[in-house]
Each structure stands twice: as structure tokens, then as C-alpha cells.
Symmetry: C2
Amino acid sequence: MSHLLRQHLSTITPFSDAEFDYVLSHFTPKKLKKHQFLVQEGNAVPNDHFVLKGLLKATHVSPDGKEHILQFAMEDWWITDYQAFHQQSAATINIDCIEATEVLSLSLYNREKLCSELHKIEHCFRVKTSAGYVALQRRILSLLDSNARERYEQFIQQYPTLTQRLPKTLIAAYLGVSRETLSRLYAL
Amino acid sequence: MSHLLRQHLSTITPFSDAEFDYVLSHFTPKKLKKHQFLVQEGNAVPNDHFVLKGLLKATHVSPDGKEHILQFAMEDWWITDYQAFHQQSAATINIDCIEATEVLSLSLYNREKLCSELHKIEHCFRVKTSAGYVALQRRILSLLDSNARERYEQFIQQYPTLTQRLPKTLIAAYLGVSRETLSRLYAL
DNA sequence: CCGCCGGTGTGATCTATATCACTTTTTATT
DNA sequence: AATAAAAAGTGATATAGATCACACCGGCGG
């Protein structure tokens, strides 16, 4: 089986062995234990991360101490604090591991370098980002349109794998519902 | 004063006169009256649109008949049903003019053509989409974290111009709050 | 094998916001 | 200016979902 990152990129355009090796050389592998932080509020965010294995969550703690989940990421997904990453400022969110995790990290410098050297890879990033943009729009519409139960059902539909791997408490924090309310929804 | 689109693209990379003219030749201008539709639910969505003048809203009507606003767009912003546009499927939202509007329309074909011919323009689109992605993440966080009043205050901060140009009813539909509740918030 | 902790369920309340119904103000249109 | 249409305010009530409090279960670390 070929490298997961190669498979990922190949869904957009094929890469030759040489091209892929060159791309890969710009990434740094990193292993993290369960509960370990990948990004911590207040710190710099030098890298974007491609998940090879494991499961993470990006969370924001509101002034009154409640944790809301901005994003999950499992195998084949990208995750970082994009706001901080792009403007090279301090993180406003935390990212930590729900399971033991392996990622490939790509610095902003290397990412821009790759994008300017290889039109193909910039194309990949544009296509992936566009898809992400659409997914976020869908989530916003779901937050505006739908009640707790409907959002939960949509989540199960859209992310069956995550539904298996995540405790309901975290799904609730992602959907913007309290743990207790989600539990009571079980009268499906 | 140079062309608004040129100014827009130049915030990312400079374009020569020849380059810009070539890019511009792929767009089609369109004028719309107040209340006219740019995209209508159920129809094909051949184009993305850059706003030269005016103000539009992208809305979704929920099963129970309530109108929620996914996005506004004014001068210098892009708007379309991106989901439908990318997968060339039928629109699931409506986009209509709040004020008389002029846009430049770019077909998916021309957009991909430009992107493959001119690395520079693909770069522009990637950067703009990334910025949009971050903005949507912020909005999601605001929907998860903040109550009606806080969301309204954030909106005023972030979009002072829109706050002037829009009736409160529409701001309410964007924030996911009822018109009446927004009105009562006025005890700021 | 025990104790504890993360995850879950469930009752009793509380509250922000929705809804409905109506009035007043402002803005367009002929 | 006259009339209609859109926007905004406001009271009375209803409700989805939050919060608080507690009980239960199952795994795994000493």
C-alpha cells in the first residue's frame, strides 16, 4: 500500500514517485500520546498537520469555561489553528489527541515553497480548501436551520466513523448541545 | 482608478496589464435589479460571481419555512452556491439582490482554465479561499460560544458597513436569532 | 480485586429565546 | 401629498434546551 499522503493527494492529481518524494521531504513526522497537545492556546502555530493515524479535536474554551469543538480530525484529514497559522500569530484554540496519534507536519514556509515550486500541489491545496469551505457552510446552515436532534442525525449520517470512535460528550460539544440534552435525544 | 477586480487580485500578487486583461476576458458582466435572483434553488449554478456594486444575500429556507442567511456579499466579495457550483448540481440556496447590483460572472470552466494556465491566479484563489475558510470557522465558533447579544455585537464590530446597509431583520436571519429578540437586545 | 474515573442516563428546575399578536415608524411608489 | 409596503418596537406567553444534582455502569491501574 502506498503512503497515505500520496493517496490523499492523488484524489486530485497523480504525482510521480520523484515528485511525491520531493513533496514528502518537506514534512516532519510527529507522534503524540492520548491527551497530548498538538497546538496550545497562546503558543505560536508554525505548522499545519496531516493525520496519518489517530484522532484529535480542536477546541475553544468560552469565557465562562465551556469547551466547544471547532473540528475533529482523523486519518487523512488536516488540522491546525488556521487563523493563527496563516497570520503567524498566537493560537486561540487548543488541539489535543483523543487517541494516540501520528501526524506529518508542514511549516508555513515549506507549504508556500511547495506551492510556488509545484503548481500541481497548489492546485491540490486549493481544491481541498474549497471542499472544506463548502463543508463549513453546510455546518453553519445546520446550526441555523436545525434543532439538536436534527443536527445529531446529520452528524451520524455524515460521519459514521467518528460517531463510533467518539464519546457522546464530545459529539455534544461539537453540535453545540449539552451532554444531557444529547443523551435525552436517544428517544429517536 | 483601476478596475475593482484588479485591485482585489493585487492584494495577493501584482498583475501586468496584459495579464489582467486576459483574466478579465474570462468574465461576463451582469446587472441585476433589487429583488432579482442571481441563483435560484433547483437551477444549475454555472458561475461564481464577483460583486462590483450592490449587495446580495444567500439564503436557505428551512422545511418549516424560515429563511436563514448563509452569506451576504457586497463590493469586492465573491458569492455563489459553492456546493452546487463545484459539483455542477442543482442549487439548494437562493441568492438575490438587496440593492441593485452589478457582478462579474466566471464559469467553472473558465475558472479552471485560468487556474491551469496562470499559476498566479490559482494562487490568488487559494489564498482567498483560505481566508474565507478561517472566517467561516470564526462564525461557527461564534454560533457555538456566544449568545444572541454577543453575536450581534461581534457582527457590528466585524461588518460596520453591512450594519449600515442592512435592515435588522436580515441581520437577525444571519445571526440565527428572531427579529423580535434582536430588537429587544437594543437595551445595549 | 478494589477503587476510582470517564462516560452515560435521568429527574427537577430554570432561562434565553421563539412565537404570536398588535402598534408605530419609516421608506418607497404613484 | 396619499397610500401602500417594509421595518421596527413591544407585551404576553410558550418552549427547547441548559443547568444542577445524583445515580449507575464498566474498565483499568495500582
